[in-house]
Symmetry: C2
Subunit: 345 residues, 2 copies
């Protein structure tokens, strides 16, 4: 990257909400500013978890970190506490690792009700226990009233991975198949509804959960090349990252993409596109054509994977994301530019 | 702890600034809420860094995490970026570990000037490089305007420690000696002055730096029992933690405690007590009586330890913190209760 281009992008600019939406602006901020300064051989902004060289013999140690801010702090199916556990162990899981340890940072706003904080940390502890991970270090800071959104959390996770596991976007090639482990957009929609600002109520729940059972099932498939959990920016952002890294195109088959009826109706009423909505308990996987059906069967055998589906293919064509619609038409799904959605993870 | 007592402390209560000041309320919040829920054999709220069992053979792997919020974001001698590196590597250093890796979380407020963010991350990167640690994973979140203090950072650090190192408050006994590696309160005072709200200006700089050279020097002293960096709540909070854990008393000798003249005058003018002010590049160490002089010599041989001093002793008496004043009188230094100081780390 040319230094001049970097400086042009920085001068007289201010942070916008879109710098946090998982799309192009966020990637530019990370590449041109954070990765530019922090550059070192172990830092790779394209992976979910980094290798951490420790003198382990049979296993690789992996680390990942994630920050959490969501409104409201509690929503159907979870809260910021359970989310902070699932988000980080899911990043380890899709990297092929078994999550072991977490650290926790809490930034708590002055005036927060302690009973609510107690519920959230109880839920966080339960999520950690269920996933068999221990929280081994933590820190709390208090933010002055009016300088926080109630509660921000950050978790760092450490896991171990068998030495022979090879996953990454660099293994992806044309004719590979894209799978999703379940319906998309549940988390994004549930959080939007919980805000009540639309005057709607549904019994839709966030899909927030550990994807470890799904990732462990997929790791047994020899043709598995890549996994990711589609959080910020949803399915589209994951697929655009693949396009950017591989230079390949992607064709999605709209009728095959699982979307729950309430998600579909909320999106139709409000004009949102479910392909950009966050999930917090799903996996997008890329598998070789020959083993796609086997991978599908493996996912469907896991309780949270019963609605898994093959949704698209990689193509040696223009590096675009094309959606084949139910009516046989084609629609380009562009990368996120501005902030089209409420911030929900 | 009785469950009823825990619930009484939580019902109808709200988070206060004092829950973040390093004193009694903060410890109660951590013990009665966070540690209560997150309880597991590896979590110990009395240590700076936790042991992380990995299949390492000759070395223990240690982990620590810290959140950072400071106003202003940039101050003489550092900024929130360098602070976020020093704070975490110092927690590893005083635990006897050699810091190796960091992860970084950034919560950035909408509207923040990107040029300022760039300066801060450049400074963070320089601090990491100087300390020979690599930042191997990171995450950014954008906070809506009015819901952040410009920038909050959290760092998690991983380091390795020789297996034979034994440090901890449980090794402390009567007649042990307390040392400090340099003048106290520089960071707290420099940040207060940088706020300009007092209309004062000085050339005092924050002491923010890596304490690794100091901790490595002390680790060669056989009688070394405990090290800590006196950050939030300053010298007094560290010493009260020792009193709480050991049941012993501490006697400090006021004329021996190094305090720079500008710190002393600012405190006198504003009515602050330097013993409660944060340092970000000092070590408080407890050493057996027999090796106290040797430890002092070792500290003074390190560039940032030239003003190291023996400042007090442990006593098998009432568990109080007593300051012997210059005039021969005695003053009790109480644990922090409410928020007497601007939040500065």
């Amino acid at each position: 990257m040319l230094k001049e281009k970097r400086l042009n992008a920085i001068q007289d600019q201010h942070i916008q909400l879109a710098h946090g939406n998982g799309g192009r602006l966020m990637r530019e901020l990370i590449d041109n500013l954070f990765a530019y300064h922090l550059d070192n051989p172990l830092l790779d902004t394209n992976v979910d978890a980094a290798l951490m060289p420790i003198d382990g013999k049979r296993q690789d140690v992996m680390v990942t970190t994630d920050g959490f801010t969501v409104k409201p702090l509690e929503f159907p199916g979870g809260n910021i506490g359970s989310l902070a556990v699932h988000g980080t162990i899911n990043d380890l899981s899709v990297s092929g690792a078994l999550p072991k340890y977490l650290t926790l940072n809490a930034f708590i706003e002055e005036g927060m009700e302690i009973a609510q904080l107690d519920r959230i940390i109880a839920s966080l502890a339960m999520a950690a226990k269920t996933a068999n991970v221990s929280i081994i270090a933590g820190d709390t800071k208090v933010l002055a009233r009016g300088e926080g959104g109630g509660l921000y959390l950050a978790t760092t996770g450490v896991g171990v991975r068998e030495k022979n596991i090879q996953l990454g976007m660099n293994y992806i090639c044309p004719s590979d198949v894209i799978l999703v482990s379940g319906p998309i957009g549940d988390h994004g929609t549930a959080v939007m509804l919980a805000r009540e600002q639309f005057g709607m109520r549904g019994n839709l729940q966030s899909d927030s959960t550990s994807v470890l059972p799904l990732s462990q099932a997929l790791l047994k498939i020899l043709g598995l090349k890549f996994m990711r959990d589609p959080t910020r920016g949803g399915l589209v952002s994951v697929l655009h990252e693949i396009i950017l890294a591989t230079g390949l195109g992607i064709r999605l088959f709209e009728p095959q993409i699982p979307i729950q009826a309430p998600v579909r109706s909320v999106c139709e009423m409000l004009g949102y596109d479910p392909y950009y909505l966050a999930c917090e308990g799903r996996i997008v996987a890329v598998v070789s054509e020959e083993q796609a059906e086997e991978a599908l069967t493996a996912l469907r055998a896991v309780p949270s994977g019963e609605q898994a589906a093959i949704i698209g293919i990689l193509q040696a064509e223009q590096p675009h994301l094309v959606l084949e619609t139910e009516l046989g038409g084609e629609r380009f799904l562009e990368d996120l530019e501005d902030e089209p959605l409420p911030r929900i993870c």
